[in-house]
Amino acid sequence: MTRSLAPALVALSLLLTGAADCELDVVADPGFQFWCGEELCEWDRTEGNIARVPTWHDHDYAVELLGSPVELSQPFTTSVYGCILIELTADAEPEALVTLAIDQDVDGVAEWVAAVDQRGFQRMSWRLDVEVSGDGTDTHPASRMIIRKDGEGRAVLSQLRVSKRCDGRPEFNEL
């Protein structure tokens, strides 16, 4: 009897605490604010140069992608099999040719790519139905989130929130 009630009690507590509205960042350092010297601690820079720049406050920082090409990436921290919400706050000129991508099986080919051409630190968002692996091994590496810049325009990224969050009825983009 006790054992049969346990899942119901857990579900009830989740509902009461709001945890049922799942929200969890699935990339590390979504604010590009953890710097190890001249590099981002949590993001791998595979091409180009970056710089730490202030945003709305002298001490609230973002990453500027310098020159072209520039590529940053990192593995997902958590596996997701369902919907995710991606929100990006950026100041990116269209000629900077910035893209956001997900390489699901780390074969060098992105399964999802979106152009980032929002000026003035406006927020962009996408809802996706995904199957990404966050618990990578040597033989099956974790899926990666990739930021790439292929043009010479200005591109500053401030917040990249990738969360398991399913509020409302999302318009899914299948991977």
């Binding site: 350092d29 604010q33 949590e42 202030p54 002298d58 630190f121 406006q122």
Partner: protein, 223 residues
């Protein structure tokens, strides 16, 4: 705002026209020249590009107080006119943001104004009650505090800042003196205090509409 200023100008002009300039008499509270006022109440400012930018940078409002307080020292100069040195506490908001390891970035601001105000009031049959209009200018200051993580560890770094700009205040009020030295007042109006400001040049009006009730004390020798 323009309509309010125009209304105050009309009220002030009417008050001056109704009063013969050579007539000197106790026009309120027995003509006691000094006054102290302390009040508290409610106020609300509108959202702004400044706040929307905070939201674009993933900050969520944690708290916002509608409490307002004011303190004033007044000195009657001529019939139906006095000067005040007035202080107002205004908008106070705090925001928080997750750095990926919990809600750990916080940003808070508090806005204050103080300035020199002029107040004129209507003649009344006895001198125990008045309705007044008040206009003032002076500095406004926003004290901001950003606490943020610069590395993925326990340490958060705090950055404090004070931003100064101007403020403009217009108020309408009523005041009664049931006793010789102590009374009550109610006033309301609008304060324009465009601080704080962010690096993009966006300003938040830390003032807004407000309603204040409080106590007043009059003292000093009648001239």
């Amino acid at each position: 705002m323009a309509l309010l200023l125009r209304t105050l100008a009309v009220i002030g002009t009417a008050a001056c026209l109704l009063l013969p300039p050579t007539e000197a008499h106790a026009d309120f509270a027995g003509g006691q020249p000094w006054g102290l006022e302390f009040g508290f109440g409610w106020g609300r400012t509108r959202s702004s590009e400044y706040i929307r930018t905070l939201e674009d940078f993933s900050y969520q409002r944690d708290s916002r107080t509608d409490f307002r307080a004011s303190f004033a020292l007044s000195r009657r100069l001529v019939n139906y006119f006095e000067l005040l040195f007035q202080f107002n506490s205004l908008d106070d908001q705090s925001f928080e943001r997750s750095a990926g390891i919990g809600f750990d970035d916080t940003f808070k601001f508090s806005t204050l104004t103080f300035g020199i105000h002029g107040r004129t009031w209507f003649p009344t049959p006895n001198d125990r009650f008045r309705a007044y209009a008040q206009f003032g200018v002076g500095p406004s200051v926003a004290v901001t505090r950003l606490r943020t993580r610069l590395a993925a560890n326990e340490d958060r770094t705090e950055f404090r800042d004070s931003q100064w700009f101007y403020s403009v205040t217009s108020l309408l009020g009523i005041e009664g003196m049931p006793s010789e030295h102590v009374g009550l007042f109610l006033n309301g109006g609008y304060i324009y205090a465009p601080v704080p400001e962010n690096r993009f040049g966006q300003r938040h009006n830390g003032g807004g509409g407000l309603v204040i009730v409080g106590v007043t004390a009059r003292f000093g020798k009648t001239p």
